[in-house]
Assembly symmetry: C2
Homo-oligomer: 425 residues x 2
């Protein structure tokens, strides 16, 4: 039997240093964008400021159903001295009263949202006037501009409506469409190739004794799609250097970012870092980070494309995904991590002891409501526990040598926006 | 000129009464479900409890790289009295050591995740033993089960993994796939037809002076897709009773739920309630709710399908959408509103005065971070302000005769899960 020893030893980088190296790689990146139809832009990231090219509303409109008047005509109106005004027309929101002018002593019926004719400067609510024989009787004054929405009151031509770097929501898209904007420039969705490695893995559609379903790649792929990337799940690579090189090469053709799962630890079968290094400069940039779990996570660059090496045990895979991949893809899209993943402040549900090692800890937690407040509770589990991540909603990143106390406020990053639906289980 | 007066008057129902009527309609509903591939089930609602049909892990596995032993063999091991064990083999996670039995005095090399041979009951970490000439020298004892993950320790056959009514997240889907589950029963996505009504409206692709882009339907459609419905935007219906009836009839063929926008106020051109009543029993169930804005919102049932009538001014459309449509679609899918929309507790950023009328108020608010805490600030705006909903992140539902005080804790329902990306603008 051959000698049993680690294939490599890792010099662990402090986590902040690993992040700094990530920032350096992306600091001078220019974003690739594409022009798409506004109607299809929900969830996409704007790469331009959107400036209003029209006023909204485009002209003065009635805020209520009623009668539009010149406010001066009724300034002396009272129950004792009612003012009579002649109704000259009826205007609906779809009317275009160009050329119609309200003269002294005249009024017009308007419905909510109708444009006002020239010369009109106030609207009397329908219940505050009496209509009879083509005239209205007004018994109290109105203020100038009362019940009128003025042109440009909501949005003024030239206003910045939405800024570059915003993720578009349904109402944003509706507002853009309402202003007559048909196309917007958005960041291209990064295509992320996922390569799972390991002789023990088997495609999900198959099943064999002693082989493990390739479900981590499925989790990674689902999480990527939930934060705005376009995942491409490639077939499983066996523990073979040439085969892993071939897969990464293939992925470099079709993807913007590559994620490997497994094969980056210190064992004799861990070929991923070698493959990355053999494919071009600079190759591996960081391999080994002072975090727990997830310490064998790494990343590199080959042919200008980032490669993230995630460890192959679920707790470590998740740690590497959230601590390295998510910051990387947010930089790639010009976003902050907080824009991709909700971060909430809750109270710690229990004490958590110090870990003496100088490591950041990735602690899976579950959010629980208790007497109207939200608490975080650690969810324990082995390195490849599946149930742990079904029970947990997010994680706390605990800095080195920090202990947590019950009732202390902690910041929890949720695994995705989908976690809210589970707070009340 | 004809007489100008409201076409109908509305008897406003208290909001809790309207909700109660909604619950009654749905209380005996059975859910339509479909069986879909696990890989495509992210975001869908489970309609069955998922029970594990295997243990996970399926057998005892090593938690670390090392040597698996019988713990009794090394119970007396120390630096002075090291124990020598013979290495009988090497096991990887993909191995299947059926029939291999560890005898007294034997050990085997195992990598993390590898199944243990029969008779092995502990694992010594690789760094805690010295390998030489086919043997290891062990200098300290291990506990029974140390560094072993036992069969069923993570998930036991028969455990309920996920309950009916859960919205599936990426990690859930990965876990189901890992357990060999290929198909799940999920609620069919409700198809929601959206009919905008109004002569003033024009399709988004066109543009005419004095006509208004049909952007509210686009907003409603986007919000529906974000909460798990399948929106179908139908073409605009003019203010014509027969035409509106025809559209609703058409929608009844293809959709599960119908939403109309506009045409349900008290004016002469408001034909939607008449159309709903003319199409079958019971027709309109509630029309007019003591909420502000949104009071002309209504709902009914025709041919067993719910119809929600939303008002046609944006603030009212949004109020009707969140106060009636969202509770309705959550009942339809067997969910709680909190599963569809995040609700967060923040502090009020300012005082808010009493409204003397006995109305629930739908108050659009913006979430702002300040000294590490989140605050809600009212976002003012006219009844059809577009910018208001670009600035706001959610709403507070204020019960009648309630005033809010600065620093008071309030519950904010976000417009969708997408709002998180905007908290840091």
């Amino acid at each position: 039997m051959e000698r049993i020893e680690p294939k490599r030893s890792l010099k662990l980088a402090p986590y902040p240093e690993a992040l700094e190296k990530l920032f350096k790689v992306f600091q001078s990146r220019s974003f690739e964008y594409e022009s798409i139809s506004v109607e299809e832009s929900i969830g996409r990231v704007l790469t331009e400021d959107i400036i209003a090219n029209v006023d909204a509303p485009e002209r003065d409109i009635a805020m209520v159903d009623g009668y539009t008047v010149k406010f001066k005509d009724v300034s002396g109106a009272s129950a004792e001295k009612p003012v009579l005004l002649k109704i000259i027309g009826k205007f609906y929101p779809w009317d275009n009263p160009v050329g119609v002018k309200l003269l002294e002593g005249e009024a017009a019926y308007v419905t909510c949202g109708a444009p006002l004719p020239e010369g009109a400067d106030a609207v009397i609510m329908v219940e505050n006037a009496v209509f009879r024989d083509g005239k209205i009787e007004v018994r109290r004054p109105v203020k100038e501009g009362e019940n009128v929405i003025h042109a440009g009151e909501d949005i003024r031509r030239g206003d910045i409506i939405l800024r570059a770097g915003s993720i578009l929501r349904p109402q944003d898209v509706g507002v853009l469409a309402g202003l007559g904007i048909r196309k917007v420039n958005v960041a291209r969705k990064p295509r992320v190739a996922i390569i799972a490695t390991g002789n023990e893995l088997i495609e999900l559609s198959k099943r064999e004794p002693a082989r493990i379903a390739d479900n981590y790649a499925l989790i990674v792929s689902g999480l990527i799609s939930r934060i705005g990337g376009e995942p491409l799940r490639l077939s499983i690579a066996p523990d073979d250097l040439d085969e892993i090189k071939r897969r990464i090469k293939e992925a470099l053709e079709s993807a913007d970012i590559i994620v490997t799962v497994g094969g980056c630890s210190m064992g004799e079968k861990d070929f991923v870092p070698d493959a990355v290094n053999s494919l071009g400069q600079p190759g591996v940039i960081i391999h080994g980070i002072r975090v727990k779990p997830g310490k064998v996570t790494g990343f590199g660059m080959v042919r200008g494309k980032p490669i993230v090496m995630l460890p192959g045990l679920l707790a470590s895979t998740m740690a590497g995904f959230y601590l390295i991949f998510v910051p990387l893809i947010s930089l790639y899209m010009g976003l902050k991590v907080e824009q991709l993943l909700p971060t909430i402040t809750v109270r710690m549900g229990h004490d958590l002891d110090l870990d003496e090692k100088p490591l950041y800890r990735f602690l899976p937690v579950r959010i629980k409501g208790q007497e109207g407040k939200l608490y975080a509770e650690a969810v324990p589990g082995g390195p490849n526990s599946l149930s742990r991540f079904v029970k947990a909603n997010g994680f706390i990143l605990i800095p080195p040598k920090k202990r947590l106390r019950r009732e202390e406020e902690v910041s929890v990053t949720l695994y995705s926006k989908d976690e809210f639906s589970r707070f009340f289980d």
